[in-house]
Amino acid sequence: MTDSRLGAASVAPSASAPFDAVTPPPPSPATTAALGQRLGAAAAVLLAGHPAGHVDDLLARGNGVLADALVRHVQQTKVDSELWLVLVALTAAFPDVEFFLGVRRSLGVTAPEFALSSVFETIQQSYRPLKCLDSELEIVTDRPVADVDFCAKYDHNTGIQRVVRETFSRWIGDHELELACWSAGDNALRELSPVERRRVVDWDAWKQTPPASRPTSTPPGFRPRLVVPYATTVLLPEVARDGYWSALSSLAQFSGNRVGLIGYDTIPIASADLIAENESEKFAKYLSIVKNADRVAAISASAADEFRGFARAASAQGIPPATVVSVPLAVQTPTRGTAPARRAGQGRPASKLVLMVGNQEPRKNNLAVLFAAETLWREGLDFRLRMIGGGSSEYTRFVDREVKRLARAGHAVELLRGAPDSVLVDSYAEAHCTVFPSTHEGFGLPVAESLAMGVPSITTDYGSTLEIAEGGGCLTVDPRDDRQLVAALRSMLTEPGVHERLVAEAEARPPRDWNDYAAELWHDLVDPLERDLR
């Protein structure tokens, strides 16, 4: 099976050897030139103290001569960030922690004349596929570098991607900024292709393009440069996918860059019992980056508290905790596309609509809502319950079963999966109130959305949902106490005074849009990191 891949190697049959000896082909001129470019770029930064022309002279004598000079330089200075840069230039890959430490130790016990060969040996022992050896690099020192890998490569747009796209589409016009994603083999950050860039900063126009007429992400012949942040700010606005965590953790520890990230929530740890195990596993690995980060901008005060908790736990390892601030997300009302939404219209059915938006999963507490509704229906209240949202867990089946049972008993309950935005908007327009008694949220988007649409909400009396509720328009309940939920829903449905007051409060809330969020995030996350550097 491997034959076709190894075809480039010359196979030298030998009478004495039991197996054919394989001699790798010499590097192509392009690969050699790329190595020279990378080493030259690193040398321009690290050997800047030498007389002009020094680096050019070294390079003229060959890649090996320049590599040797760089390795001897970092062996002598023993500065981690310089070693990190040299390793990136040599391997065209961001080193992982184990490999970085391996080289550092080997340089510490090796005579200068053998330093370069000891580095080569350690690289070979790390068994990491190096897929970018023919790439050139650009060392970025004067502007923040942002890893927007997922948003650049995929068309998916919920939660985190929305935050990233709304933010960067605004930042890109206002600030000097380098956007990057991961290269082939997940070896290093690289520049984006034009399409990838559009996907991040021009999403609204991109999604209007019919899929059939969209150009491919990376056009043939696209040879991206690697993006190497050095002595600058590195921003991680997404939750880094597994596969990147070791290189990013190493970057945060050794590269000398300042690392800032957006903290969404720690639900996979703090509510692990309600989450699929692989999510907890992946998130724990992601935390190894958070542990070494300098600054976290959490999406709510409650999420900030969670990240502070983690930083505190990690302080037992003698690691200085990251500074954690809170920058609450913006609230954007969904739009129905062409037709404008209506708040109250004719032909509206007589009974009030109670709306619940969100996935069906244990954390969202759908079963408690169904219980509260059933209790009130049995009391004789007349209202409809509509749930909108997807679901894929075992819990979804419980919800389905309950909804079916209640519908059979003649109650007005419906469950809409995969409903388009227009249905969502119309449902908000029609709703008497929404209900969202989640046990854990980084930011309770459906509550904020509901209030922005002028629809009062029943939500959780702690955490990020309470923060939103404090601005008015909500009844809050302990989501683990069904009786409170029943009482709040009853009050919302049967006490016109309460409902009117909450509607008025909801409509009086000051709007908070993505311009506000993007500006605040730059001010509270990026500015302080940049100040520390320069």
Partner: protein
Amino acid sequence: MAALEERVAELEASRDGLQAELDAILNRATDRWLSAANFESDALAAMQQTVSWRVTKPLRVVRGLRPGDITGSISGRLASRRDG
């Protein structure tokens, strides 16, 4: 005087020659590494495409997880007192 200059020139030439030899050694080592790294990346990728690599994945995962791992920090080494 001329003899001295000649001697210096001779030494300089010999120094440059030795330097060139050293340079060649460094460049050759670097080229050799580069071709090996290039080659091994492809070989590793090819190997990871093979059926045997895929079917042994569960085995490799299991081998990464041992009883000593399951028991937090003060545990691993004492496990070996009995097991080892």
